[in-house]
């Protein structure tokens, strides 16, 4: 590779600003879809995993066992294998296997059990007595879930969501390799296939900054919500 001055590298990267912006939007879209699905489906699944444990409100050994087994099953797949396995499903759901929306299918699929486990762990931190007090006061299961469990675990749930977001920022880069687009895809295409190392470095730096920001915002929000 030719010697490259810093100024030249910077100029090369700046020339790509539109592509970088586009890639960032694609990453954002993949994450938004994956995280929304995780919250909407993984969240309730996590609550169910928690509530069906022995000694909890809906203690049920068989249901808990089956759910736990399914969650472990999906989580066992290396993400790249899961992506490839889900190609037929993606084609049915999205009509294509290329692009950020198609990539969001396996991302969502992986995010659901991941977030479910995080939610389950977080809910376990709530003292049993607090839930029992609500039961003694005549709270319904729905009231216990929404007014007690989620509210008491809110700081932990935000921290869980922060972990999920950062993990899936990384997963979305993997999804990029299989035509998903996004920041990771850009880094691979220019940085690796075209030997433009400066683009790869710039993309990694961009990811570093994004991760730091997500963690900072997550920490701040969790600290503000935590009154324990």
């Amino acid at each position: 590779m030719d010697e490259l001055t810093f100024a030249q590298a910077l100029s090369n990267v700046l020339d790509m600003a539109p592509e970088i912006w586009q890639a960032s939007l694609e990453t954002g879209l993949m994450l938004a879809i994956g995280l929304t699905t995780a919250i909407l489906l993984g969240g309730p699944l996590g609550v169910l995993l928690y509530l069906t444990q022995p000694g909890q409100l809906f203690a049920h050994r068989a249901v808990n066992g089956v759910l736990g087994w399914l969650v472990n099953l999906v989580r066992s797949f290396p993400f790249i294998i899961l992506m490839v396995s889900l190609v037929p499903l993606t084609r049915v759901l999205v009509g294509s296997t290329i692009g950020p929306i198609a990539a969001a299918v396996p991302l969502s699929f992986a995010a659901i059990p991941y977030f479910a486990r995080l939610v389950e762990q977080t809910l376990r931190e709530i003292p049993r007595g607090v839930v029992e007090a609500a039961e003694a006061m005549g709270a319904s299961p729905a009231q216990i879930i929404f007014k007690v469990l989620i509210n008491e675990a809110r700081a932990g749930l935000i921290s869980s969501l922060t972990i999920l977001t950062i993990s899936f920022l990384s997963y979305s880069a993997v999804a990029g390799v299989v035509g998903g687009g996004g920041i990771g895809d850009l880094a691979i295409r220019y940085g690796y296939y075209r030997f433009q190392t400066e683009v790869m470095v710039a993309m990694v730096l961009l990811l570093v900054v994004i991760v730091q920001i997500i963690q900072l915002v997550g920490n701040r929000l969790a600290a503000r919500l935590d009154k324990r």
């Binding site: 607090v130 039961e135 006061m137 005549g138 319904s140």
Partner: protein, 245 residues
């Protein structure tokens, strides 16, 4: 008021055997009295208390509170009945992410009270327990005694006819203990709320109870009468507890 008839409750032990926490026990608690359940740990007193609001369901026997057979109720009806039975806990069990006022408001929220009614009642109850100036604080900012006052205000909020107190002073120092007992006695005297209190200390019985059941190995050994802060007792177990106090 509260009638437990031949209630029996057993738990499965980790080794697969059974532990009879409450054995075929019958108990009648009168309206407006402060009734103690006293005994050593493992005597079954907390389980007996928790049978009254069906936090534990008896394996056999009947639980009757204010003429209602609780074991025969549907889940919805039981929730409604529980709104009339307040409960106070040893570990307070307050919600850490709710302010003092919002903790007291909780039972009213779930009972469907309006915002205006809730605000008024919460202020009243915090006033009764002497915590009006702590309404906006969070539980971590309070002392143990203050937390228990919040617990009492919360139990009192829906105007229950019964308050169940499970070792309410066992996590507190002696001075705070007395102030909490005074608070419960005050509520009993002013509002006629029937109070059932679990304790392992004869001091608690002597200080505020009208009557108490002495429990051992899941059975009532003796019903103690308290008159002018003296406990009349005949059993050896009661005497040993009296000497310890």
């Amino acid at each position: 008021m509260i009638h437990l008839k031949n209630v029996h409750k057993r738990f499965k032990k980790p080794d697969g055997g059974w532990f009879d926490a409450v054995r075929d026990t019958t108990l009648h608690i009168k309206e407006g009295e402060i009734f103690g359940l006293i005994g050593f740990s493992g005597a079954g007193k907390s389980t007996l208390l928790r049978l009254i609001n069906l936090l534990e369901r008896p394996d056999s026997g009947a639980v009757n509170v204010e003429g209602q057979d609780l074991t025969a109720l549907s889940a919805r009806e039981l929730r409604r009945a529980r709104q009339n039975i307040g409960m106070v806990f040893q570990q307070f069990n307050l919600m850490a992410n709710r302010t003092v006022a919002d903790n007291v408001a909780f039972p009213l929220e779930i009972a469907g009270w309006s915002h205006a009614e809730i605000d008024q009642r919460v202020a009243e109850c915090l006033d009764i327990v002497g915590l009006a100036d702590r309404a906006g604080h969070y539980p971590t900012q309070l002392s143990g005694g203050q937390k228990q006052r919040v617990g009492i205000a919360r139990a009192l909020a829906p105007r229950p006819h019964v308050i169940l107190a499970d070792e309410p002073t066992s996590a507190l120092d002696p001075k705070t203990t007395q102030s909490i007992l005074d608070c419960l006695q005050d509520i009993n005297a002013r509002f006629g709320v029937t109070v059932v209190i679990v304790t392992h200390e004869m001091h608690v019985v002597r200080s505020i109870c009208h009557r108490a059941a002495l429990l051992d190995a899941g059975e009532v050994v003796e019903t103690l009468l308290v008159d002018n802060k003296t406990v009349a007792a005949t059993s050896a177990l009661a005497k040993s507890l009296l000497e310890a106090a």
